[in-house]
Amino acid sequence: MRFTVRVWRQTGSEDAGRLVEYDVDDVSPDMSFLEMLDVLNERLTLRGEEPVAFDHDCREGICGMCGLTINGVAHGPRRATTTCQLHMREFTDGDTIVVEPWRAAPFPVVRDLVVDRGALDEVVRAGGYVSVSTGSAPEAHATPVARADADKAFESAACIGCGACVAACPNGSAMLFTAAKVTHLGRLPQGAPERDTRALDMLAAHDEAGFGGCTNTGECTAVCPKGIPLADIAQFNQDVLRASLRGAGGRPA
């Protein structure tokens, strides 16, 4: 197969960046999208040009490191699939493919297609955990958890933190990411004691990081490689509302 790939090149945060066009031929349909970029990079290196920087690690769809906007869609055309698991057979021979980084103010471009997603870590640090120090845990069977709750918690916990939701959201909101963690922990009895403060603190951290507000457009869930449902955001809103009504203040800083 042969493709015309237009890739976003940007040397750093100071540079304005631009799309640069490359022809990539001899592409096997069995290549993953990232392997196609590997091939391009090998050729660029041998030609004396700088290869395209892009983030990737596990290449099996779980670490959340990879993430490219392909033809305007976060993670590309195949639903519920990370960029690393997208294969070239999803494209048609001769296609022009536009590859851009995640675009959001809280995700500054480091280089080319690599962005800094540290803002997501900041949101988790605001309360996306259960405060239980090592050694203080009770026996695992002390608190049974209804299977439905465990399953639902798992569904939300499956988030890989890739940031596609932010990349796709017209508002640049990270509410799906934040809501997934709030829903995961809030659904379990172990997470219940901090449910109110967690919801308020994580929302505050989310807003402070510069993410936009949610208007329920649903673009996030459409590109989410793990299918985190939009309903998690409703659940998050409910938690925030209830916590506010109860007058639960955030955790003292």
């Binding site: 949610c214 457009t217 409703a234 509302l241």
Partner: protein
């Protein structure tokens, strides 16, 4: 956003139901209009309730618009540099037209007040004769066109707004997602049909 949206939504529903009075004839419609002014006059005096409603609505509209502008500004701040290759719509069309739809509706409301409440822009323009105001207006094709565009925008706005507001208030159980979506759609379609029935009935001479 959700709270003011709901206030406006309930008003819009009541307004639509009131409009349908026109199918009962001139007398019924006009007396309904008179009743609106007289409503609660024992307590708040002539048009007291009506003005209270108007003030609540005005405040709601202002708050609704303020919130919308804030969200839009945050959104712009969150993505200062857009995608070169514009992403196609992944979510719903209604969701993507909330902002422009809101602007269209706002402009229409101004026109609508000048047309049918104050009467300045109405060809008949006699505040005490609402039936004739309505029928004379809707005999003009361009009035009907403006009205149609606005109502379709309203329908889309309500379609996403109702559903979204239910989510924002967290009142939807996760498992009720599809149900809420259907309810929002049905309400939006009913509202659109209800509103559009009047101008087209007038235009095609079903109401004279």
């Amino acid at each position: 956003m959700a709270v003011t949206g709901f206030i406006l939504f309930f008003y819009v529903v009541a307004h639509m139901v009131g409009n349908l009075k026109i199918f009962f004839g001139e007398t019924a419609f006009d007396s309904y209009a008179r009743w609106l002014r007289a409503m609660g006059s024992a307590v708040l005096g002539e048009s007291g309730v009506l003005w209270t409603i108007r003030i609540v609505l005005l405040v709601s509209v202002l708050l609704h618009m303020t919130a919308a502008i804030q969200l839009a500004r945050r959104a712009r701040a969150a993505r200062p540099s857009g995608y070169r290759h514009r992403p196609p719509v992944q979510g719903g069309y209604a969701a993507r037209t909330m902002r422009w739809g809101g602007v269209i509706i706002a402009l229409f409301v101004i026109y609508h007040v000048l047309d049918l409440t104050v009467g300045w822009l109405n060809p008949h323009g006699v505040p005490e004769e609402p039936f004739l105001n309505v029928t004379s207006g809707f005999q003009q094709w361009w009035v009907v066109l403006i009205y149609t565009v606005a109502i379709l925008a309203l329908g889309l706005h309500v379609r996403h707004g109702v559903w979204s507001a239910l989510r924002s208030l967290g009142t939807v159980r996760a498992s009720h997602g599809p149900l809420a979506r259907t309810v929002a759609l049905v309400v939006a379609v009913a509202l659109t049909a209800g509103y559009l029935s009047v101008p087209y009935a007038v235009l095609f001479g079903l109401v004279e």
